[in-house]
């Protein structure tokens, strides 16, 4: 992209606002990217994907336009005017009765499509206001030429990549898009419609609900079986958007489709990492929303395949949904820790290896979510706790507890605490403390990290810290706990809570200070 700068004598400083000769699109894009405005940021984090290039991956070039050239470089107002004009042309070609009608329509559609895909900021608003939507719906009617359907669906795709109002303006197009997913449709048309539907479902629950009611689930699932990888990928992505909830009904319906689990397993094993990624996201939402799906998935081959991917892949994009799927499954159902990830089984060692790999990664997301999974495994049987305790995870955990960003420290804290607390309870109805784990962890220097958590402004972290300190003070042998806590300024940290706004925190902290640092302390 840097090569698009036309000034030879200037070096490419990204933070240089004053560009050289002319405002080439690349420069402008850089400038835009540097100060990320709210609008742009929202566009970035939306679960939508703008379709800039043809889905034909065989290098078919459009007439008169080199696909490599990215951007139409114009002022927004000029762009809007052109868009309005193009919509008018489309309108007139649709009402044209002559023999070239279809060709004219396709040309107009093509022009509109280019405006919507090659511009830096697609003139979506202008297109809608110009009255494009009903025209596009007309273009999508049954029996239209494939090329027409393709171009129209492409336009709809990019309009649906806009904001809420813009997306909702497409309601009348939805049933047609779903219809063109059918097996009689041309492969490209179906894929483009799937993309459009993916963008629509990425908007909000209301639209997802509508699409579900209109029957989008089944055809999308079928498309996911396509032999064309790009089609399968797009369909999987669209499906993940459709079922992501928070209403679980779509997820619950998906798992009931026959052979869906086999399909998922098959795709998770393919070489195409992008396909694996999108299908893994489907598993993420199935495992997050549908108890029925969880029950089926934990007993299927999905788990071992996910573990394989966790261990074998280095792609961040792939690891995130794989890790999270496993996380959701472990969190939801004890079956996994008790019957699948049995200590001693190979798969268990693999999982631990994979999680530790994530802990060592530089990516915050991987560290945080891997810790979450680990903490849940550590909430399993005594064997699990011992397995983790004796692995190379422990020094990593203590380090992360001390030095990592706060949200990661919290997860490390849960893991370490869970390692020290048994699954059984004593006669006093308190969980058994595993002293053989607690002592080495404290000696290994985990206390400062916990005391630090107590000082946090985040209520949950402070609570976790306090509750762990209680463990130490109660369970550390020879009554040495309080002294150890004091040496780390624990009393100070706890006394902060005297004027905390949360009553429970005040009570808990005060109770601890009263009990362990009362009048007879230090005697």
């Amino acid at each position: 992209m840097a090569s698009e700068d036309t000034a030879p004598s200037h070096s490419h400083h990204r933070d240089s606002i004053k560009s050289s000769v002319g405002n080439t699109a690349a420069n402008r894009r850089r400038q835009q990217a540097i100060s990320i405005g709210k609008e742009r940021r929202e566009a970035l984090i939306r679960a939508k994907r703008l379709c800039r290039d043809s889905i034909f991956d065989d290098g078919d070039n459009e007439k008169g336009l080199d696909e490599g050239e990215m951007v139409i470089d114009e002022e927004q107002s000029v762009l809007n005017a052109r868009t309005a004009q193009t919509v008018q042309e489309l309108k007139s070609s649709l009402s044209y009765q002559g023999k070239d009608a279809t060709q004219k329509t396709i040309e107009a559609l093509c022009a509109l499509r280019k405006l919507l895909s090659k511009s830096e900021v697609p003139p979506i608003e202008a297109a809608i206001q110009g009255g494009a939507v009903p025209l596009l719906v007309q273009c999508l009617s049954f029996g239209s030429a494939d090329e027409q359907l393709l171009e129209a669906a492409w336009c709809v795709t990019n309009i649906a990549a806009g904001g809420p109002e813009e997306t909702k303006s497409l309601l009348s197009a939805l049933p047609l898009l779903i219809a063109h997913l059918g097996e009689r449709s041309s492969g490209h048309v179906a894929e483009q419609c799937a993309w459009a539907l993916g963008n629509v479902s990425g908007e909000d629950m209301e639209l997802r609900s509508i699409l579900f009611a209109q029957g989008a689930l089944l055809p999308l699932t079928r498309l996911m079986l396509s032999n064309r990888e790009s089609t399968a990928r797009t369909a999987a992505w669209a499906l993940s958007n459709l079922i992501k909830g928070p209403d679980p009904k779509a997820a619950n319906e998906l798992i009931r489709i026959e052979a869906i689990t086999d399909t998922i397993v098959k795709h998770l094993k393919t070489a195409d990492e992008e396909l694996v990624t999108e299908v893994a996201w489907v598993v993420v939402y199935l495992s997050a929303l549908s108890d029925k799906a969880i029950s089926i998935l934990v007993r299927s081959d999905v788990v071992p395949v996910l573990v394989n991917r966790l261990v074998g892949s280095e792609s961040l994009q792939l690891l995130i949904p794989v890790l999270r799927s496993l996380g959701n499954l472990v969190a939801a159902d004890a079956y996994i820790t008790h019957s699948v990830l049995i200590v001693g089984n190979d798969i268990t060692d693999q999982v631990l290896y994979g999680l530790i790999k994530c802990l060592k990664s530089e990516h915050r997301v991987l560290k945080k979510e891997a810790l979450w999974v680990l903490s849940n495994i550590a909430a399993g049987t005594l064997e699990h706790k011992t397995l983790i305790f004796s692995s190379e995870a422990v020094p990593l955990l203590i380090d992360l507890l001390s030095a990592a960003p706060f949200e990661i420290r919290k997860e490390a804290a849960y893991t370490l605490g869970n390692i020290c607390v048994g699954p059984t309870k004593g006669s006093d109805n308190k969980s058994d403390i595993i002293v053989t784990h607690l002592v080495p962890l404290v000696k290994g220097g985990c206390l400062p990290g916990f005391v630090n958590l107590v000082r946090s402004a985040d209520l949950e972290s402070a609570r976790v810290g306090l509750i762990f300190l209680e463990l130490v003070m109660r369970g550390y042998p020879n009554g040495e706990g309080p002294k150890l806590v004091e040496m780390e300024d624990g009393i100070d940290a706890m006394e902060r809570f005297q004027f905390h706004e949360n009553q429970e925190m005040r009570n808990v902290a005060n109770a601890l200070v009263d009990k362990y640092f009362g009048a007879d302390y230090g005697v």
Binding site: I45, R52, L316, Q317, A331, G422, F499, A511, G522
Partner: protein, 325 residues
């Protein structure tokens, strides 16, 4: 998050509602839980990466924006300051909530509480008004405005009206360093005349070890007159049973009478003779202009200064004749 919700009734910790002991249990999150937000963001960025050509800076910016959106406020009662990032809290706390008394080194999270402390503990004028029956003890909750006549009744007000825990003590003892404690223990063995140290308000003083427990300490079971029990500040909770030797028991009953004379509404704690003599060499502090109020200092567990003027209730009522209000 359901990990810690199982509260176990724990009378030994003095919590009727139960203490949330650690329970190792799985935690599950819904897909739209903020926990997953950064992972979701990452997904979208990675998917659009090629088209957008984002740099590391821009990604970092986006992530920061994501985190900063969370509503985060300082949790110290009455503060409510907006915090942009969690890491900011420690700095904020150190600059805004570390009001420390330069006299006795006790630290308070707000300047208001510090000034209440100074009035109640280091100001003989305050004691004078109390002795004359003025309601001087302010409610600690900002905005309440209530004033009570005694420490104990203020205590009760906090518990009844503002749901403070019954173990809460504004005059909570500071915790001395190990060295200080050992010093105290040695001195305690030297003994001292209990009667001299009578009717004494403990002012965030050093923690006393068991051996130095005042000879006037009453075990909970003893029968006291209604007012006496009322007026006694129990720093210790029900947890501890004091050591009572024969001598102590004897002096207890004697002391009771003395105490009754003292008409004190504050706690009676023994002051170690050595410390007392040391203190008397120091000058009293006029709390209307505290020597200095320092902010931002770490709480140091130093020697507690107890002005003589504040020590003895009886003396105050005599003295007030000579002192202009």
């Amino acid at each position: 998050m359901d990990s810690m919700d199982s509260s176990v009734a724990s009378p030994d910790l003095g919590l009727e509602l139960g203490f949330p002991f650690w329970v190792a249990s799985r935690r599950r999150f819904k897909p739209d839980d903020p926990f997953f937000a950064s992972g979701n963001l990452e997904r979208e960025l990675l998917a659009k990466h090629v088209a957008l050509d984002l740099t590391e800076d821009e990604r970092f910016q986006l992530q920061r924006m994501e985190i900063a959106d969370a509503n985060l406020f300082c949790p110290i009662a009455g503060c409510g300051a907006r915090l942009e990032y969690l890491e900011e809290f420690e700095d904020h706390y150190n600059t805004r909530h570390m009001a420390s008394c330069s006299v006795c080194f006790r630290v308070y999270p707000t300047s208001r509480l510090l000034s209440i402390h100074i009035s109640e503990v280091h100001d003989s004028f305050f004691q004078a008004k109390v002795a004359r029956g003025f309601p001087m003890y302010e409610c600690l909750v900002e905005g309440c405005g209530a004033k009570l006549k005694s420490y104990k009744s203020r205590q009760r007000h906090l518990i009844d009206k503002h749901r403070f825990p019954s173990s809460f003590e504004f005059y909570k003892k500071a915790h001395p360093s190990k060295h200080q404690r050992q010093k105290l223990q040695r001195k305690a063995y030297k003994g001292g005349d209990a009667k001299d140290q009578e009717s004494f308000m403990d002012l965030d003083a050093k923690k006393e070890s068991k051996q130095t427990r005042p000879k006037h300490y009453r075990p909970k079971q003893e029968v006291k007159s209604g007012t006496e029990r009322e007026s006694e500040m129990e720093v210790e909770t029900k947890l501890h049973h004091p050591q009572t030797t024969e001598t102590k028991v004897v002096t207890n009953s004697e002391a009771k009478n003395e105490k009754a004379k003292a008409e004190t509404e504050m706690e009676v704690e023994e002051r170690i003779e050595d410390i007392v003599s040391g203190i008397s060499k120091l000058s009293t502090v006029d709390a209307s202009s505290p020597s200095s109020v320092s902010f931002g200092h770490r709480h140091s567990r130093g020697f507690a200064f107890v002005p003589r003027s504040v020590r003895n209730q009886n003396q105050i009522s005599k003295r007030e004749q000579t002192r202009k209000p």
